[in-house]
């Protein structure tokens, strides 16, 4: 029996392209009143500016980052409007995310080093034709020495960051069942179950199994002579 061709997928079912949009992420700039060098008080607010290549405005799909002790995040974007063509005037900044909480309890660790995704449908405004992104970080607790965001990536529309190998059946959880065409008589149940079984085995073979088979043995070639433990 011919193995069934893998379903090309409807988004889920194969690894996604993981190409973030090219951009320049500047280091965070603390907003501070007074002399940065001599002032002892922590500012608690920092700004990260992200510049996109000038002629390539981005239709933003997703923002992904790893937190590093930031408590609240505000995101503002600058967009290009059709009527802006030819005009050199300053473009408006629009807030698309306001005071999003990353650390529910800013004096404590929860959320401090977690990974986050912000999707376009979670944002307050339209994020098409974006030319610049500004992330405003707030950390009201004075106990942390530094706070920032790391591994910041912007994903354009049509590409998502999810690399997970979703099995294709997940996108067909409640498929429309067509009634079986029984023109040629009732098929043999044994044959049906054998075919189902073969299909199943082949599906398993197609999907790479991540964990090694647990055979319960721990020796290698029947040998388990160990002298010392390894430090690496």
């Amino acid at each position: 029996m011919e193995p069934p061709a893998p379903n090309p997928g409807h988004g889920a079912g194969r690894p996604m392209a993981t190409r973030p949009a090219p951009c320049t992420v500047r280091s965070p700039v603390a907003l501070q009143v007074g002399d940065v060098k001599t002032d002892l008080a922590r500012p608690g607010v920092a700004v990260i500016d992200v510049a996109l290549p000038p002629a390539q405005p981005l239709d933003l799909q997703e923002i992904v980052f790893k937190n590093s002790y930031t408590a609240f995040l505000t995101v503002r974007v600058q967009r290009r409007h059709p009527c802006d063509v030819g005009r050199a005037s300053a473009r408006k900044w629009v807030t698309c995310l306001w005071n999003h909480c990353l650390m529910p309890s800013p004096h404590t660790e929860a959320g401090s080093q977690d990974y986050f995704s912000l999707f376009r449908h979670q944002l307050l405004c339209d994020v098409d034709q974006v030319t610049a992104v500004r992330l405003i970080l707030r950390q009201p607790s004075p106990v942390w020495l530094h706070f920032t965001l790391e591994e910041l990536r912007l994903y354009p529309r049509g590409q998502q960051s999810l690399q997970t190998d979703f099995p294709s059946w997940l996108s067909h959880l409640a498929p429309q069942q067509q009634p079986e065409n029984l023109h040629g008589g009732v098929p043999d149940p044994e044959k049906v179950s054998t075919e189902v079984q073969q299909l199943w085995v082949l599906t398993e073979m197609i999907r790479a199994n991540q964990t090694a088979a647990r055979i319960g043995r721990f020796d290698v070639d029947g040998c388990y002579d160990i002298n010392l433990l390894s430090y690496t």
Binding site: V64, D114, Y115, Q163, T211, D225, I226
Partner: protein, 502 residues
Amino acid sequence: MMLEQDTGLSLAIAQIVQRLKGSSLHSQLERQARGSLHKPEIKLESLKEDIKDFLKTSGWEKRLQNAVYSELNVFPSPCHPAAPPEHMKEPLVYMRKAQGSWEKRILKSLNSMCTELSIPLARKRPIGEQKELFNKWNEMGTDEPDLSLFRPVYAPKDFLEVLMNLRNPNYENGDQPSFRNHLGLIQVPLKVKDIPELKDYFSELGLNTGQLGIDDSTQVPPELFENEHVRVGQTVLTEQDSAAAQQYVRQGCPTALRAELWALILNISNQPEDVKLTASNDDYYFVFEDYLYQVLLCFSRDTSVLEHFSYNSATPPKSYIRGKLGMEEYAVFYPPNGVIPFHGFSMYVAPLCFLYHEPSKLYQIFREMYVRFFFRLHSISSHPSGIVSLCLLFETLLQTHLPQLFYHLREIGAQPLRISFKWMVRAFSGYLATDQLLLLWDRILGYNSLEILAVLAAAVFAFRAVNLMEVTSLAAAEAVLADLSTLKVMPLLQIFLFATVT
């Protein structure tokens, strides 16, 4: 967290399905489904629906539900796809590093002990010794090898020293006392629950809810609570519903039903596993010591335990056979289950011997308890049930509710955690009377959390506060708290959480 709702759910479903695929339940379900094809009520035109109905009525759907529920309890929620695998073990980088250093210390200690004593870590038993072991399998407790030269790999005291020195490099750890420094021994800023949150979390322990351990005492007529509670327990067992059982045991297990209820919650099937334990049918020879040896020896060789390292911050030690250092095809884990035990480790098993007399069941229960709960008591992590959080929770509760006592003990050089640490690391095993310990472990299972250990530790200090206020040294404080064998766990917890005036 922060993932789009649907994708998070899909991810969780996919992961659970992936894990259940390799299980024996899966093959059993397949076999049942295939077997059902012969039944007259299964019609080809509605094959899928009929098989689903069959699985429901025959109880197999319930078993699948229990397996899914078990997976949800044991495994953490799926991480963000961008997160590396070590993030699921432990999200905070400095904690991972601390765990790594601690492990290295243990490895060095083991290696130097082996070098000093000139013994290999592992070798195949000579034939004579194998025969001897086989013959003496049921009497192992009485015939110990000479262990006098072996030091315990580490004691809880050593571990506490490591936890005391844990620091977040991004935290303002000044030398000057300030609001940033904690007054206790633990200096990492983990989020722990306060009393209002604990009252809400442990709401079933409240004054208006019946409890075993309080409302089944001889003075209370059994019609008021106990009889009904037992009846409900029997219903839960008949229904074989894991989730219901977990909710039920929050009010305590009737002694006669406890073994089955725990097995249901931990999703241990009644099928005997292929564990190489010889079942001793001789009741007169029943000695716990034998069971402990058997269970722990088998545990150390059980490679299925390695799976829990995906969510444990610890990493199993590695070695290479035949001296082939660095060559991956000769790499093995040591011990085979990756868990190096410490002084007092057998105390995790001993209480279970009162519940399970069949060695295979005893073993499976212990293994499941270990990979769900006990491993958190001796690895460094930021998990709310991890030992670091428990220590901080204990210290915070004591400071908040007994500030005078806390201050006094600190002043006399008797930091409370120095005394309570050993209780929590052993989940109170060996310190409480067995019936009280089992009532406590009922709640660990019921709430799927070890936080109750920290609350009990604080409640014990509260109970003995008057005596403790009069001591003037650490040794005297230890003496006041040396004997916990007369304590009644549930009244202590209830009073501390729900009846203490703050």
